[in-house]
């Protein structure tokens, strides 16, 4: 299994397409950082709206490395699934269209091992992608903007998290995002086992994400009650929960706490269930599949 995993990693990281995602993310984050560095104060003033007139806001403190990273993640994590699908959607079907799948499947390794190795290798790619996002959005932002308290908006109020209480939240959020992205990878893997060209699974994964996101965002009662709880997209943005700090009876924030830990844990459990279900289905289909490519 370890040998197979090494081979899969070697193949993924020798493919030029793999690095496209890293380049896209770097360009995107750089543009945001540059924009906030030049025009951050005006933008933040606009975002604060009437609050700006009601209180004296220290914008120089508000626009800090943590805040920039939070802003980047809000924009980026919605689009990262597309970049994950780009690699995961190709992982089986790409080999089928290239003709190497038959060589691979005719070797003395089990098909279950092949699929699991491919999934774990995709996991390594997702992990590398998130580390890359963390480095360029968190480390670079901290270097460029400095560290200070993080203010996050939640529905109709703002929460302030002390600078010393932020870093672990980022690590947790990235960990959560990793699980969420592995659900996307599992969807792509499943579609990839069903197809003999790469484009189909990539487009289908993106389509599924768009449709599920739209349905889970719709405030239609029947959707909210009967469909939303079963959509993976409902749980994917649970990483934000780590930044919603808990508070006591006097409305004082409690350092090191989160407002609704059980909700976060429920989201993680739902996402893990999706992963198990989708990967098991992929293994089952691939084991039964006649390789005719």
């Amino acid at each position: 299994m370890w040998t197979l995993l090494q081979i899969e990693l070697f193949k993924i990281f020798r493919k030029p397409r793999t690095y496209l995602a890293f380049a896209i993310i770097a360009a995107f984050v750089f543009l945001i950082q540059l924009g906030l560095l030049v025009n951050g104060r005006d933008w933040m003033k606009f975002m604060m709206g009437s609050l700006d007139e009601m209180m004296d806001i220290e914008y120089s403190k508000l626009i800090n490395g943590y805040a920039v990273c939070y802003f980047v993640l809000n924009l980026l994590l919605v689009h990262v699934p597309i970049l994950v699908a780009l690699v995961a959607g190709d992982i089986v079907s790409g080999e089928a269209s290239m003709g190497t799948l038959r060589l691979l499947a005719a070797k003395p390794v089990s098909r279950t091992q092949i699929i699991l190795a491919k999934y774990f290798a995709t996991g390594a790619y997702v992990f590398a992608l998130l580390v890359w996002i963390a480095v360029i959005s968190l480390v670079v932002s901290l270097a460029a903007f400095g560290a200070n308290d993080l203010v996050v908006a939640k529905e109709k109020y703002y929460l302030q998290v002390e600078a010393s209480d932020v870093l672990w939240r980022y690590f947790s959020a990235f960990g959560f995002a990793f699980i969420a992205m592995m659900v996307v990878a599992a969807i792509s893997l499943l579609l990839s086992t069903l197809s003999e060209n790469s484009i189909g699974p990539i487009v289908a994964t993106v389509g599924i994400i768009i449709v599920c996101t739209l349905v889970s965002e719709m405030e239609i009662p029947i959707y909210q009650k009967y469909i939303k709880p079963y959509l993976f997209t409902t749980y994917m943005l649970g990483w934000k929960g780590f930044f919603y700090i808990g508070s006591d009876a006097e409305n004082q924030t409690i350092k090191g706490s989160v407002e609704n830990l059980p909700a976060i844990l429920r989201s993680i459990a739902a996402l893990l269930a999706y992963i198990i279900l989708l990967v098991s289905a992929s293994v089952y289909i691939f084991r039964k599949k006649d390789i005719l490519s």
Partner: protein, 310 residues
């Protein structure tokens, strides 16, 4: 001699199409087993079943005396294969491709071993070139190196000369002969070209529409007494009219638009002199061995012309 492959009554149904229909055959140790059939005859499906890429609808396959379904890993460790086109990872070098498939076959060879393997197929100098820069012939040779990298006991090659130029075909042919005679490997080689198979195989199986047509030793099947001879004359119709009045009438193939006779190859000189004696201007006389002709010869009675009477 023990059976390396034993296929018993395998069939494969793809929805409405029966690709392989109750096929049985045996490959013995040391055989170069020619697996012949026209495109779509079921050769590739059979080979894919031998390599566990496709599961049979019914029937049983034993390789090295073990059931394939229960001993897949053990068996495939001793099998090397090129399946149809030699598709490899285009974005990787020849060396990397070979190293990957060596590891997948359960071995971890030294660089020298891999380079020797590439040298054997004439690719040592291009070891670090990406496969996407290779010609079809180079890919085919690399595919064979991949099939041989773990020193398998059984080598399965599906249409190994497809897309190759005459030199490439000759190179592959000599490699197959070397693998069999010098290295004692058992080979199953599929092709739709009888001319390719007859030069290397000691036993031949011909299939058509998924069913066995005939199986036997190459010497039995390529019986020269059943050669199809194509005659080109200045007036084929007149020549045919004259031949039907002679002892060659029984050899004439009526369905053919051209002038064809099924006869003993050794009688070609007699035929030539008879044609000249009948006043027929002969442009060429060509013995043919295409699979199509061979199929025809299998479905028509065996006629041997010893003497010709006017």
């Amino acid at each position: 001699m023990s059976s390396i492959i034993r296929v018993s009554h395998i069939s494969k149904q793809f929805k409405e199409i029966k690709a392989v229909d109750d096929l049985s055959f045996r490959v013995e140790e040391g055989d170069v087993y020619g697996f012949l059939g026209q495109n779509g005859a079921g050769k590739s499906t059979t080979i894919r079943m031998l390599l566990t890429l496709v599961s049979p609808t019914s029937g049983d396959i034993e390789i090295f005396g073990k059931r394939l379904s229960g001993h897949r890993k053990d068996i495939l460790q001793q099998v090397g294969a090129v399946i149809e086109k030699p598709d490899l990872y285009r974005y990787l070098s020849a060396y990397d491709n070979l190293a990957i498939f060596a590891k997948l076959s359960g071995i971890r060879p030294e660089r020298d071993t891999l380079m020797k393997q590439l040298d054997m197929v004439g690719l040592a100098e291009r070891a670090n070139s990406k496969v996407k820069t290779f010609s079809q012939g180079m890919k085919q040779r690399l595919g064979i190196a991949v099939a041989l990298v773990h020193d398998p006991r059984l080598i399965i090659l599906d249409e190994p000369t497809n897309g190759l130029d005459p030199q490439g075909i000759a190179d592959i042919r000599s490699l197959l002969i070397r693998l069999s005679r010098e290295m004692g490997k058992t080979l199953l080689v599929s092709s739709h070209l009888l001319s390719e198979i007859e030069l290397v195989a000691n036993r031949i199986l011909i299939i058509d529409k998924g069913r066995k047509v005939v199986e036997g030793s190459a010497t039995e099947l390529l019986d020269p007494s059943r050669t199809i001879v194509q005659v080109e004359t200045t007036d084929n119709t007149a020549a045919r009219n004259k031949l039907v009045t002679t002892g060659w009438a029984a050899c004439l193939q009526e369905s053919s638009a051209t002038l064809r006779l099924q006869m003993n190859k050794a009688d070609i000189p007699v035929l030539t002199s008879d044609l000249v004696g009948l006043g027929i201007s002969v442009q060429s006389i060509q013995p043919r061995h295409s699979l199509e002709d061979y199929f025809l010869s299998l479905t028509t009675p065996n006629i041997h012309v010893d003497t010709v009477t006017n």
